[in-house]
């Protein structure tokens, strides 16, 4: 994936079924259920970010890898 465009293309592909068959049943949570909260460090400064900080806003949570 060499560009954001390619990233978006790849992400769009998975909506059509690319890797979706590999997705585990319990992660992410099913549509309509509360998404599990978590805290992880940022890659740039190590600062902790918790998903629940974003309550009150819509969030697009993107799991990806630069490879």
């Amino acid at each position: 994936m060499r560009s954001m465009n390619k990233l978006i293309v790849a992400m769009t592909i998975i909506t059509l079924g690319g890797y979706a068959q590999l997705a585990k049943a319990d992660y992410p949570s099913a549509v309509g259920e509360s998404h599990p909260d978590f805290a992880l460090p940022r890659i740039d400064n190590g600062e902790a970010v918790r998903l629940s900080e974003f309550r009150g806003r819509r969030v697009l949570l993107v799991h990806f890898a630069s490879w």
Binding site: M1, R2, S3, M4, L7, I8, A10, M11, T12, I14, T15, Y19, A20, L22, A23, K24, D26, Y27, P28, S29, A30, V31, G32, E33, S34, H35, D37, F38, A39, L40, P41, R42, I43, D44, G46, E47, A48, V49, R50, L51, S52, E53, F54, R55, G56, R57, R58, V59, L60, L61, V62, H63, F64, A65, S66, W67
Partner: protein
Amino acid sequence: MLGVTQEQHAERCRLFAQWQKLDWPILHDPINKLGVDAVPIIVEIDESGITKSINPKLEPFLAAMTETRPAGNGESAERSIKRPELTALRQNAEQLNSFDHWVELGDAIMLWEDQSQVSQAINAYRRAERLRPEDASLHFRLGTALRTRYDAYQRDGTTRAQSSYTPFSAPGTTSLGILAKRDQDFRAAVDHWQTALDLEPNQYIYRRRIQQYGPRLAKPYPFYDWIAQAQDEIAARGEAPIELSVALTGSETAHPREKFAEIAETQEEPDRSGRITRDSKGLVQAEVVVVPKQLKPGAMARVHINLQPAFDTHWNNESGPLVLWLDLPPGWETEGQLFRSNMPPAAESEERRTIDFELKLSESAQSPGMPKAYALYYVCEESRGTCLYLRKDIEIPIEVAAE
């Protein structure tokens, strides 16, 4: 937009984000604490924290996000996220001695502590392993922690010296012994990742971590071949590219390919007569990691040979490079037999040097002998001031499976 990357090395993703000008926060989950089975996965979460859709169409969402993006990269002004309290986690783990508590302690160290503490995470995971030896996610975590220690050890020359210097050695423990233990970390990491994948063969994250260090044939596409282009383009913009703390291996940049290239030139064995003095004192330690370690006829493996000067020893770069000669018995194929390692410009150095290459077991191979190699290098003993040209014979352990 909030990203989560499951990569081993965070700074490679930082470089990618810099190159692509991704301005949203990206979080690091090298141990796959979230339990993601594949990437990419996109989850749309509404204002109440409810999962609204999985892998949605992106364009409408991105348009809406642009219009409503809050200032400051989506972060609130008064943030106070507490990191886990290690002392309490350790006390809980020791008192309750449960699998979950040991894993929680290991995770907290892996995610939130400096990499110099990684041995404590490994110890915590080992305690969990005793309680539940067949847990795939634990083996993946152990592999990641061991590889982290291996990389930390490579990254900092002082770490090498400090790790191997032990004025109060336990009986039977030498500084070289400790050095050798650290140098087994990569092999142990691959073993744990393989165990994790054997237990959960559909886990894409586990599979990719092994492929990262495996042969080209096993990869659907390269891992980090974009890095050189990214560094050039970032520099052309007048920015300094994010520095990579861990050098890329050949397996991480190699393109998928099924056949070997022709050997371009005749390669002459450097010590055919075997007269170069053997490194009997172990001034340089060798670690061999084969991915995968078991092959069937017709299959390929990636071999990583890591060579590290022991405490009180350094490479003598003025005299010449390290070379490695690969000695293949019938039944094996490769692209070359003679390899040279890169050298830093300094007259002397003490970094770990890695040579990696691929081997293929012929379709028709029956009871093939094991490949061997030897390295030739110039090193100096610091205490005596003696500089030597030495040879180290290296076994390449590959298990041959029945067809």
